[in-house]
Symmetry: C2
Subunit: 748 residues, 2 copies
């Protein structure tokens, strides 16, 4: 069960470095060297093509295709698959010399390096091409995505004849003709359209086949060549070079047509855009860098995570559904899951409140689909999907799609958490409440009353722990529903008449939610301090998870499907999950009791699992255990721990490692009126520092083994609890002694 690193890249605090090209890691590298700017994602594949293993992915946020699967004959079982598809390969470049086409699977090369610079967001690759015994050419490819103008990307090629002068033929342009490999054995291309090319530009208007989404792709080259359009969606410009030199291209990939696009592009250069990007990243790092002294592995790891979090969403301009792989691969169909609000949101809440808007907007924009889904499930209100790209439920396994209520309660949690942290009452009363009310309507119609006791709760559900299927009174579901009812009722009561009128509340509806919240079955045993994960969980046959042979993993492949569901083994935290989301609701002793009971039963077959356990272990002062669970979190992809990084990066795990550090080792709690910190540093860390943006204040946190130094700058006053004691840091800073476990417990 223990995971181990498959280290390939050089460890370096600010860069990801590949020295020498190993084809066995080609797809892993493509994932790790992915660039993104919220609007676009571009895997680190080779501009010049590559005949070896490769996923030449370039994606646009929200551009997907759809397949309708066979109807099941049962009502409410989803039949729609929507999946992120490859759009234009805009770094498309084919290079030949002396009749040989450059292909790193075949060509003779030396001095290969590839470097992702996290300070600038630029990816640079260079090598020597030994064309034959006489000719050696040095080639350097650079690329970045503009963070300011998110429709724009840039790439540059530099060459130098190191030995023997020759003619370099370069064909460069756009390619919409690649096949999407997740849609059948031989792949399917989902684009139709037309193209145009000129001496220094390429242009395509492309449309997806079934979803009819349009993309307008325009490239402006810095040099002139000969236009060539061989296929309707593959415009190129051909160049011939006899001297050392370079050229670059700027691309604009837009969902809307802009007749002035080339004029717009001509106002920029590679260098001018790059300079803006450096500035942008400098600002981001100032506000969100995490500095770890004492452990360079962890330092690089967490920087890489923060870098990726900014790449996936930052501008607040587009609504963003954070896919399981972001825009770095096609696994999980590019769908987003319920971890967006629970795992990803906190990072943005404290480092880029503007980006939060993108995430919250996605759920508001897709409220109609969630309401449609609720109808399919014979519920009122809104039932948010477990897997989606457009808002439509795309998980065709009914046993997940129909029984998991956590996407809906996560949306409510996200709204609550956003309002809690930002104090944005206006958003809550005008936008958030619309979703809250519809979620409550669903929760009030999906549940039922125990005919023996009158308790309210949910029957036939699957909680976050996906190893317990079709259970009753899953404690997470019940707990989150109770919280959702309570918060919604509280919010509605604060509305003014015109706000209230918009909700069309039925007579008695609010009272019904209140009653259900009161009667919600949340069973807590006063003697053992335990919450039972679901009705009957304590009576399940016991499995010693440590006795499961390593070759049985992954269990879904090696255990009969139903076998997974009939014992007390859990896949990921469930009771511990709501304890992690609402930490202030529970005492140290309660967390300890439930942690001690459930942790040994958990096999962590979800990448969401270790960080939650690590956060709680920190909270309990179990530092070794906390670090053991954290160990590979921040380097999951850099060191390919799960051996599937080739499919794309693990976005929720990336988000989870930020939470792991800030909520775990720094002990942040953000579920009360006031922020709390209760730091516990891992043994190898000398110190840890980071900044939290909070209600107009920049709160710098510096934690060493002797003291905690807090400094606040901004217009407002901020109060923070450290180990339970309220302090008010200012611009000069306040020092507090590093806490011991006892102090910690008091803080809790």
């Amino acid at each position: 069960m223990s995971k181990y690193a498959d280290r390939y890249f050089e460890v370096n605090p600010w860069n990801v470095i590949e020295n020498g090209f190993n084809p066995e890691y080609s797809e892993v590298s493509e994932s790790v060297f992915s660039l993104g700017n919220e609007h676009m994602g571009l895997r680190g594949y080779f501009d010049e093509g590559y005949s070896g293993k490769s996923l030449q992915g370039s994606y646009v946020n929200g551009v997907y295709e759809r397949i309708i699967t066979e109807k099941s004959g049962y009502k409410g079982i989803p039949d729609t698959l929507e999946f992120l598809i490859n759009s234009a390969d805009w770094v498309y470049t084919r290079i030949s010399c002396k009749g040989e086409t450059l292909d790193l699977a075949v060509s003779k090369i030396s001095d290969f390096t590839r470097v992702l610079n996290m300070k600038t967001g630029e990816l640079k690759r260079s090598f020597m091409w030994h064309v034959d015994g006489e000719t050696v050419i040095s080639l350097t490819f650079s690329r970045f995505l503009s963070m300011k103008y998110t429709e724009i990307g840039a790439s540059k090629l530099e060459w130098e004849f190191i030995r023997g002068k020759s003619e370099l033929n370069v064909s460069a342009g756009l390619d919409f003709t690649r096949k999407h490999m997740n849609a059948g054995e031989d792949g399917v291309n989902f684009w139709t359209g037309i193209s145009e090319a000129g001496t220094h530009f390429c242009y395509s208007e492309a449309e997806t086949k079934s979803t009819k989404q349009k993309l307008y792709a325009s490239i402006l080259f810095s040099k002139e060549g000969e236009a060539q359009v061989t296929e309707p969606l593959k415009p190129c410009v051909n160049f011939t070079f006899n001297e050392n030199g370079s050229f670059y291209r700027l691309v604009c990939i837009s969902k809307t047509k802009n007749t002035d696009v080339f004029e717009m592009l001509s106002k920029h250069t590679y260098e001018s855009l790059f300079a803006q990007n450096c500035e942008w990243w400098q600002n981001q790092w100032e506000n969100s860098d995490i500095v770890i002294e004492g452990n360079i592995d962890d330092q690089q790891g967490i920087r890489y995570c923060v870098f990726q979090m900014h790449q996936i969403v930052h501008s607040g301009k587009e609504s963003v559904a954070i896919g399981a792989k972001g825009l770095t691969g096609e696994a999980y169909n590019g769908n987003t899951f319920w971890d967006t609000e629970t795992y990803c949101l906190p990072f943005y809440l404290f480092s880029n409140p503007g980006a939060v808007n993108s995430i919250l907007r996605f759920r508001l924009e897709t409220l109609p689909q969630a309401m449609e889904r609720a109808k399919q499930l014979d519920c009122e209100g809104a039932f948010y999907p477990i897997a989606t790209i457009s808002g439509t439920e795309c998980c065709t396994l009914w046993q997940h799609a129909n029984t998991q209520l956590q996407p809906s309660t996560a949306v409510a949690y996200g709204i609550w958490h956003y309002a809690r942290v930002t104090g944005d009452e206006n958003y809550l009363k005008t936008q958030g409440v619309k979703m809250l009310v519809e979620i409550c309507r669903m929760l009030a119609t999906r549940g039922g009353y125990d005919q023996a006791t009158g308790n309210y709760g949910y029957y036939g559900v699957m909680g976050p722990d996906e190893f317990q299927l079709m259970v009753n009174h899953n404690m997470y579901t019940n707990y989150m529903a109770k919280k959702t009812f309570e918060f919604t009722v509280e919010t509605v009561k604060k509305l003014n008449d015109s706000q209230l009128a918009q909700l069309n509340l039925k007579k008695g509806e609010l009272e019904g939610w209140q009653e259900k919240a009161e009667k919600m079955y949340v069973k807590f045993d006063e003697d053992t301090l335990l919450y039972e994960q679901h009705a009957g969980y304590f009576s399940l046959p016991h499995v010693d998870v440590n006795s499961i042979p390593v070759e049985d993993f992954p269990l879904y492949a090696n255990w009969s499907y139903d076998r997974i569901y009939r014992n007390d083994m859990i896949k990921q935290p469930d009771v511990l999950m709501f304890m992690c989301l609402y930490p202030s609701d529970f005492t140290y002793e309660q967390i300890a009791a439930n942690y001690d009971y459930y942790e040994p039963r958990c096999i962590h077959e979800s990448s969401l699992s270790p960080s939650v356990h690590s956060i709680l272990a920190s909270r309990l002062g179990r530092d070794d255990k906390a670090y053991e669970f954290f160990k590979f979190a921040s380097r999951m992809d850099l060191d390919n721990y799960n051996r599937n990084t080739r499919e794309g990066l693990h976005m929720p795990s990336i988000a989870g490692s930020w939470m792991n550090i800030v909520y775990g080792f720094a002990g942040l709690r953000s579920d009360e009126d006031i922020l709390s910190l209760s730091p516990r540093l891992p043994e190898t860390w000398e110190n840890l520092s980071f900044r939290l943006l909070h209600r107009g204040v920049s709160l710098d946190v510096f934690i060493s083994r002797s003291e905690i130094f807090l400094r606040a700058s901004g217009d407002n006053e901020i109060r923070v609890k450290i180990y339970g004691n309220v302090i008010i840091p200012d611009e000069k800073g306040v020092r507090v002694p590093y806490g011991c476990l006892e102090g910690y417990k008091r803080g809790l």
Copy 2:
């Protein structure tokens, strides 16, 4: 919810009569007029073809095709679909006169009658064909399947020029080219092969495409014509007739090649085979007729059921899996379910013990597939399929296939019941025990122990009530498993050393089963006398089944799939089911308590449901309720109560109506050493009589409202309990007064 008759056929004690042809009932008629002889099934479709709605089905026992569905990625989820397919249309006949081809969807006809004679097994159809104003021809089609030579069928055509003489052109032969309509929109034909035709014969050798099953079809005509083979699998002989006359054909459909087939056929004639059939049926009716005086509807209904039961299996020559539609249609893919042993077996046990062999053999022959299936499910031993045609699990819904243990416990029950009724210890010790042991191995590895109490039972199962999915300690499953363990241990203990050696019992295996039987969780509440259907059932939200609007049915189509599973509504008997299978285990009061609790919660969405409720209502002396549940059971297909008779006959329901009368109204119990009867006649019935064959004795039972008359003939003595009192009927007969409820209770 109440069903009502769609009466089309004439009510008649010995015949099914259609007077005048109504195209709207064409497919219903095809089903109702189906013929079968265990080896073959032939729907009552028109020999001459029909361009209206029709399912021209002719089937051969055990001839099927296979589709492998997409792999799910999870282990143990079935991916094989096997389905009964159409084989040769051997009554293929095309008739034309004056350029018009006879087609009852188009042609002008009069005086149409179609009659199925249940005394002879012959189906006869006649009408006048008004070819034009001048020409009228009388046509009569007759057919039957030989019950003695089950590979042989016969059909005859008679014609008479009533008005205007003309030339009648007849093309007759074999047709393997029809498309199977369940395999895709346009249908697929699954046969390849070659054919031959001569002046008086047709011959085809055909093979199924993926399962590579061979069929050899040979037709011998009583007249000579001109051979014609237009397609590889469609040999014909063309005849021209100018005079009144007739001709017949004999067909042999065999799974093995017989070079003497035409010589063999030439030894028979339509009349000689028909005479043998009449004799055969006379003998069957003598032994198994049920005579009801006072209600001709019920009389015809139950005769039709008995007729169909003999048609589906009788000879004991082939192993037979009784499909949900027998050989009368393709719905449910021709698959057999767990009702074979629980619903169908009893009829044969008491009316044709030879046929029982066919049913039991099927499970023994498919033991290897059941053992393979157990492995897929991470169990030892044998896991019998919920839906199958070859022994392979063909239910691709994992939620049924992986969680329903009742096919396996039903096989064990069938073996126990067979041994109980027949006393055939030899079968039990040499064949039955092999299955019992493998079923116990599965039951011992599929279950688990409650970690809180140490009770044994089954987790993540679905009992017979398919509205409660993934439950723990389903009482039916636990009860049947306990019974299976106990009976197997008892049986194994009686074996001699060589019998024992064959079983390869592991050390402690027997003791393990005994321990599990003892620790089996079968919770009975001494106060309420109730068994809880599963752990937590009494705490489910309650649904008043009578408040569900009629337009919500069928629920699978109108309720969200998961909604069905989260309340206390049940689809069919579960606790009441095991009470029905082991009636002597329970007191009158226990049955009454559980009946009163579960019956109001049951919506009877399974055709297996009403008969069980009727049997128990009879047992409780609730005569009105008993008859209400029985009302349409015996006429389900004759009156198309479910409006889907066009798809084929409801075989388990047909078997259930026999049980309903014999186990219900006559109050038979066969789970003790001695047979018991406790008759309660429905109000409209004057009397009821039938014969039971039991251990070499023919026991004639005559029940009137004043007395019960029992007469036994045979070599052995038989003891029978009537209302609890043992009597020993002889050839002269014994009379016992008809019982009152109190007497009945004592009997129970």
